[in-house]
């Protein structure tokens, strides 16, 4: 089964807890936002109660959004501007 590879940029506290801002995520095809969220659970440095938003094309995406090869995604903790 072919896999997918996507570029992901993390913001805020996620950048520190993941150890880098940009990284490449590989997953068997097909993949969804929920798969990405589940993959993030392996990191003990990420607080289990931290809500994480997944953004593609400048839009917050739901759990069932299908992630396709070559996409550029953004991982965001709760916003804190203002």
């Amino acid at each position: 089964m072919a896999g997918i590879s996507v570029d992901i940029m993390a913001f805020g506290i996620l950048k520190d807890t993941l150890g880098h801002d940009w990284f490449v995520w590989k997953h068997p095809d097909p993949a969804t936002v929920l798969d990405l969220r589940n993959w993030l659970k392996q990191f003990p440095t990420i607080h289990p109660q931290l809500p994480i938003a997944v953004v593609f094309d400048q839009t917050y995406q739901p759990d069932n959004f299908e992630i396709k090869n070559g996409m550029k995604l953004y991982l965001m903790p709760p916003v804190s501007g203002g």
Partner: protein, 149 residues
Amino acid sequence: MSMRQHFSISSEPVTADVIKAFIQEASTGATVIFEGIVRPDQMGNQEQVAIIEYEGLAEMATKELEKIGVQLQSQFDIQSIYFHHVLGKVAVGQTAVWVGISAKHRKDAFGALDVLMDEVKKTVPIFKKEIGQENSTKWVVPTLQNEKK
């Protein structure tokens, strides 16, 4: 009547004069200009905040602000909105966010300002990190701590 609006996010500050020139028109009865200023709060380790560093996804932030603008136009009778948020380091006492709103009546101007700032804190992708006087750092994560408003 169409509402005039300006949403920007950059490393450069703006001035109240620029905002006032944008929002005020002949039929305006009320203008509200708000500046959000960095406070010298205590960090978790009792160190005092010296600087807040903001980062964000500017293009998406502008898109989210435009959605908020549509919401405000449906809720309030306002004439114009000017919103600017700084990205980068902002020292205690300096302004990080500017908002100007004009309306015929003060209740619409104040009400729209309040809703705008509440919505900014829900959806606009801007993130802040506190930097203390001794250079320790802490990301502000509203859901994991009780942020003072």
